[in-house]
């Protein structure tokens, strides 16, 4: 029983990290169709934001709480700059976008090395996130519970924005029909920028969260970016609830495989599972249905 609860929690925890990272991609890749390889570096930027904040403020608790909105802001601003300078000239050319943003990703990694040095740095976690909480005889790490709560909060906030606000309506309208959106009076340029800001900002938040689990280095984002793309593809392009389910299913599968085999074997099994799944259901868990294409 303990093992089951333990693995379940490990899977949930893994899933919550995946969803935090994939949520931003669900917007920029899922909704806008932009393959942004530098998304991982926005995660790294968020993590270094937490590091810098702690250097300035000292107290680990306060700096974490401030780093979360700051990470969002920094990730978001980097995203907007990237969109304005490069990506907007390449809409509808996914291969060019992929190559160019990959280049940007390498530049940003080097920039991080120049600023913070090549070795990893550590961000201390606040005292209230050290240790664990006992549930049903199983010790659950507080930091992981915090990330789970943060992921839930981010998903809830993003879903609410997309569903209920005028910005959310504009984003959905532009995604569905860019030309029609312009002609009903929506500035698609401004909507693109805002979408990119939010998507990239969420990557920054994910980066802050990752500092609670391990050390921070220039290649932090690269470790997660492929998994995040997988989550979005399995979930169904453009579907946040799809990404949500995919993240937790993949997280659970990974922890189950990892328990019964090794970490590398788990990765292989997971990839095989995804390949089989996409053979059966190439459109992902959710797909869009309407009476007509309109």
């Amino acid at each position: 029983m303990d093992v089951v609860v333990g693995q379940l929690f490990a899977g949930l925890s893994q899933g919550s990290i995946l969803i935090l990272i994939a949520l931003g991609l669900a917007l920029t890749f899922g909704q806008m169709g932009v393959i942004n390889m530098a998304h991982g570096e926005f995660i790294m930027a968020g993590a270094y934001t937490a590091y810098v904040m702690q250097g300035i403020l000292g107290d680990a608790g306060i700096s974490l709480l401030i780093a979360i909105p700051m990470g969002f802001l920094i990730g978001g601003v980097m995203g907007v700059i990237l969109e304005a300078v490069l990506i907007r000239h390449m809409y509808g050319r996914p291969l060019d976008t992929l190559l160019v943003t990959w280049g940007v990703s390498l530049i940003l990694q080097q920039l991080a090395r120049d600023i913070f040095g090549a070795p990893n740095v550590d961000v201390g976690s606040p005292s209230w996130l050290q240790g664990s909480v006992e549930v049903g005889g199983v010790a659950l790490a507080s930091a992981r519970l915090f990330i789970l709560a943060l992921a839930i909060a981010c998903v809830a906030a993003l879903s609410a924005i997309i569903r209920f606000t005028s910005l959310g309506r504009r984003v959905r309208a532009v995604v569905q029909n860019r030309e029609l959106a312009e002609t009903v009076g929506i500035s698609t340029r401004r909507t693109d920028r805002l979408t990119f800001f939010i998507g990239s900002g969420l990557a920054g938040v994910a980066g802050v969260a990752l500092t609670l689990l391990g050390s921070t280095g220039p290649t932090l984002g690269t470790n997660y970016i492929v998994d995040a793309f997988l989550v979005v593809v399995v979930g169904g392009i453009g579907q946040i609830r799809g990404a949500l389910i995919a993240a937790f299913v993949l997280g659970l599968l990974q922890s189950v495989f990892q328990y019964s085999t090794t970490a590398s074997m788990a990765k292989v099994l997971l990839l095989i599972a995804i390949v089989i799944f996409l053979q059966v259901r190439p459109q992902g868990i959710f797909s869009v249905r309407t009476r007509s294409l309109a």
């Binding site: 959905r172 009076g185 294409l293």
Partner: protein
């Protein structure tokens, strides 16, 4: 109201419009007719800013809007109902209307007004627009345009492919709109209706205006003659 001066436009290397000039007068319907492929839709897309003209100017109330973006033209009082009853299919009927009502002081009241005008939209307000019938989607498209309180409404074949009962309603609406102080630029295949509704007309063929004149049933012979060339 709207003035086109020697507009030439096209897609990529292909020229579609060759030196089109026309004046859409205030408070009346201007009908553009012509066979498929004559360039009518391209003309409307150019007027709306979806296609940049290669040469020529577009003036709205005397102001040059040739280089403005479509959403800026909407802000200046233009509204566009594209061909084929297009809507945001994944948004509900109500959200489709909210989308354009957002940020307007009287947004909510305008939506209510549209529900009054098109009761079907109120009935299906929570349904995805993609699940509405063609006629309902056309009503939605017109309602979306009217919420922005335009001075000029551009309609691209508004009755094409719609069940006859709704066609009559839409035709009636178009006539009544021009009487409430709106200018209407109407592309229409149905010559009889286009001439009844319009004060002036133009017939297009191969991207040029081949005939023009005052509307009304009296013009029907010359239009039919122009279209059969």
């Amino acid at each position: 109201m709207l003035e086109l001066v020697d507009i030439s436009a096209g897609y990529g290397p292909t020229d579609v419009l060759h030196g089109i000039s026309m004046v859409v007068p205030d408070n009346s319907v201007y009908a553009v007719m012509g066979h498929n492929g004559a360039g009518k839709t391209t003309l409307l897309k150019t007027v709306m800013g979806l296609i940049s003209p290669r040469s020529g100017r577009i003036l709205l109330d005397g102001e040059d809007i040739t280089r403005t973006k479509p959403h800026q033209r909407v802000a200046r009082g233009m509204a566009y109902v594209p061909q084929g009853q297009v809507s945001f299919g994944q948004l509900t009927t109500f959200e489709n209307l909210q989308l354009v009502a957002d940020g307007r002081n009287n947004g909510r009241a305008k939506i209510e007004e549209m529900f009054h005008l098109f009761p079907a939209l109120e009935m299906y307000q929570t349904r995805s627009a993609g699940l509405l019938s063609g006629g309902q989607r056309q009503q939605l498209s017109i309602a979306r345009a009217l919420i922005t309180e335009p001075e000029l409404i551009i309609l691209d074949e508004p009755t094409e492919g719609i069940q006859p009962s709704v066609v009559a309603e839409i035709e009636e609406l178009i006539v009544s709109l021009s009487k409430t102080g709106l200018s209407v630029l109407l592309v229409e295949q149905h010559v009889g209706f286009a001439l009844t509704a319009s004060a002036e007309y133009a017939v297009m063929a191969s991207g040029r205006v081949t005939s023009r004149g005052s509307g009304g049933q009296a013009a029907i012979e010359s239009v039919v003659a122009a279209m059969s060339i």
